[in-house]
């Protein structure tokens, strides 16, 4: 065989292998991020309209949150937060709007206790999405209702749904009370 041809074939093969390896690595990364972020992946891609940018955004989020020193809550903290949630939820009957705001504030306190930075909503949601990608949707839904409510355009039923949305996140962060049957407190 002509050595030039052999070299050309080697180049082509090498190139093809390289392409396949890169493609496989890209696929693996996409699969990993999709698995990690679940619905949040779809949300971001709908936002950016581009897979590369989406994945860069999500990896950046991941890196940022891994740099935080997050810690699990102690049993006492959990019990206190759960008690706090109970009173917020009981408050709903007397003042749904205030209960909703208090629920949001309580979630902020839980996050601060776990070591998340105290920031505005969008940043908080992004931070949460790294480890809790499913319930972050609930958090966003609840928050959207709360915002609409501040403009006074929300029914009591909407506010109730927002409370349930907030609680999904709250339970994910804090857990259910000891001995509480899960089906009683869930919808």
């Amino acid at each position: 065989m002509n050595p030039n041809v052999a070299i050309a074939i080697a180049f082509v093969v090498g190139f093809l292998v390289g392409v396949v390896v890169m493609y496989a690595a890209q696929q693996a990364k996409t699969a990993r991020l999709k698995k990690q972020f679940g619905p949040e992946y779809g949300r971001v891609i709908a936002d950016t309209g581009d897979r590369h940018r989406t994945e860069a955004v999500l990896e950046e989020r991941h890196r940022r949150v891994r740099k935080l020193s997050l810690r699990p809550l102690s049993a006492t903290e959990k019990a206190n937060f759960q008690e706090g949630w109970r009173s917020v939820q009981a408050r709903f009957v007397d003042d749904p709007a205030i209960a909703l705001t208090e629920a949001d504030v309580l979630i902020g306190k839980v996050m601060a206790a776990e070591g998340y930075p105290v920031t505005e909503f969008e940043q908080r949601a992004e931070d949460i999405s790294v480890d809790h990608p499913i319930v972050v949707e609930n958090y966003r839904d609840g928050h959207a209702i709360e915002l609409r409510n501040q403009q006074g355009r929300v029914s009591t039923e909407d506010m109730r749904k927002a409370m349930i949305n907030y609680r999904r996140l709250f339970e994910e962060l804090v857990g259910l009370p000891e001995g509480e049957p899960a089906e009683r407190i869930r919808l």
Partner: protein, 130 residues
């Protein structure tokens, strides 16, 4: 206005002037009546344990409103009914006790009747103050 039943302190209706008037306070029945009603409104109709139990049940179902509003209202209705039943049963028992005394030939002592009457009035006042 005159048709209304008034149990206000200023009422001069002989039916609502409390029994057992102390002669020296006779000249100021308004103050006495007011004191009496105030004191009575603190007389518990339920024992402390019963109150705690009922309140704790109410607390739980209020928390449950967010999960199932309709069910919470049904449960509230049930609890209110149960509470009222508890009260009326209490009064019915009292009445029965008095009846028994009457049937045993003897009249219930005036003192027993007086105490029973006061208890009825306490309940009555509370119903009106709702």
């Amino acid at each position: 206005m005159s048709d209304e039943i008034t149990l206000r302190p200023e009422s001069r209706d002989p039916n609502v002037i409390p029994v057992n008037r102390e002669p020296e306070r006779e000249n100021n029945p308004e103050v006495r009546w007011e004191n009496k009603v105030q004191k009575e409104s603190f007389a518990p109709l339920f024992s402390n344990d019963d109150c705690r139990g009922l309140r704790s049940r109410w607390g739980n179902l209020q928390v449950g409103f967010v999960d199932e509003p309709r069910r919470a209202v049904e449960q509230a209705d049930e609890l209110v009914n149960e509470t009222i039943r508890g009260l009326t049963t209490g009064f019915a028992n009292e009445r029965e006790k008095l009846d028994k005394q009457w049937h045993q030939g003897a009249d219930a002592s005036t003192e027993d009747l007086r105490v029973a009457f006061q208890r009825y009035r306490s309940f009555f006042e509370r119903l009106l103050s709702l």
